[in-house]
Symmetry: C2
Subunit: 233 residues, 2 copies
């Protein structure tokens, strides 16, 4: 191993990355954010690719200094990789906010549309959209929007599946990955800002009784895991 000059890169992630590369970095960020290791398999599943393909790309990105990779162990973003991931995340979430707020795109469609546009929109366009929205801090699903300089709230909130019985809380965010799930949660009024209180949880992954606003609902554990809660401030 030659002692490569390991400068901690400034916030500027050099040249424009390809769409697949941005997707890998975003996925790795996301998995790390969930506290898990960004293994080949986890990445392959999230990106809907064959593990073999992920192996190759991860090696390439590691040589490009965007992530650290110990073979058979998993990948971890370098500062440069993290910066790139956050830039893409900002684009994604600003776009989601803009599409939902200004153009009235239904909130369960916004994710897929933003997924495409995030690779094409220029930085200045994203900033224009952000300004038009009043530089929002959260997207329509409650996810925090990184600033232009890569500052982002990374608080990990408890999911509704783990929220203590009896305690009142607020919905902070819902997962935006699955449009069907989103539509379902929308029907239950489980959107960011909603007040909740878990009354009971049946054992063995049974249904959860939860007050949403003034309504008593029953939801399954999978849906509950997509909803993140915080104490009322």
């Amino acid at each position: 191993m030659t002692a490569a000059p390991r400068r901690t890169p400034a916030i500027t992630p050099a040249p424009s990355l390809t769409a697949p590369v941005e997707d890998y970095l975003k996925a790795i960020y996301d998995i790390q954010q969930g506290g898990e290791a960004a293994t080949t398999n986890a990445l392959a599943e999230r990106l809907a690719l064959a593990p073999a393909s992920v192996s190759g790309m991860v090696r390439r990105l590691a040589t490009q200094g965007l992530l650290d990779h110990e073979p058979y162990r998993g990948a971890r973003l370098t500062p440069a990789g993290r910066a790139a991931a956050l830039r893409t995340l900002r684009r994604h979430r600003i776009l989601e906010s803009y599409l939902a707020t200004v153009l009235g795109v239904p909130w369960d469609d916004v994710h897929a549309e933003a997924e495409q546009l995030e690779h094409a929109a220029s930085d200045t366009l994203i900033d224009r959209m952000a300004r038009a929205l009043g530089d929002p801090l959260f997207d329509p699903h409650g996810a925090p929007i990184p600033t232009r300089d890569g500052v982002v709230d990374e608080t990990r909130h408890t999911t509704l599946a783990d929220w203590p019985l009896g305690t009142r809380g607020t919905v902070m965010s819902v997962s935006d990955k699955d449009p069907v799930m989103l539509r379902y949660l929308g029907e239950l009024e489980l959107r960011p800002g909603a007040m909740v209180q878990v009354h009971a949880r049946a054992p063995y992954d049974g249904p959860i009784d939860v007050m949403v606003g003034a309504e008593l609902r029953q939801i399954g554990p999978t849906a509950a895991r997509a909803v993140r809660i915080a104490s009322i401030a």
Copy 2:
């Protein structure tokens, strides 16, 4: 100066085309619209590619039924190719209009931005933007916007370089290809809608004296060729 709108037979523009393919089709449409033959070299220059690359792609697109190609002669869009080109053109021009009108992107920047986004935005998003604008018929540079069904005004207007002396006319459109040129034309107030009258033309590609509104300007023939004029109605 030919006439009037044209209807394209409803042909399913098969599965989503790649960005390069859409660019080729758009370029061919554009060149044909200018009355010239879409030769390999013309395409190579417009797309900033090597002629060898164009040869290969044109052959491929011909086998896919998007264009007719006689080797050593040039390419011509089939109905399917034309439909695909017009779909991309609609996206491009709706995006230009939206960016300029709603988001305040400077009119010399909108082309480059739209060039990227047109390959990523969904059809329904484009329609949403169009509706938000009141389904405009022309983009900010005066170019006609095809409808969802591929109807577009293909009138070919005379350029300012050929406009008869003394006759008053209206600027119908300006070329959006070169941002520097656009900025220049903007400074001269040569935008769609402006009234013009050519007073004199110096020989040998000399400068052109032209009244723009109430101002007398002098412009060169290259700039004049980017401005299209029609009689006042």
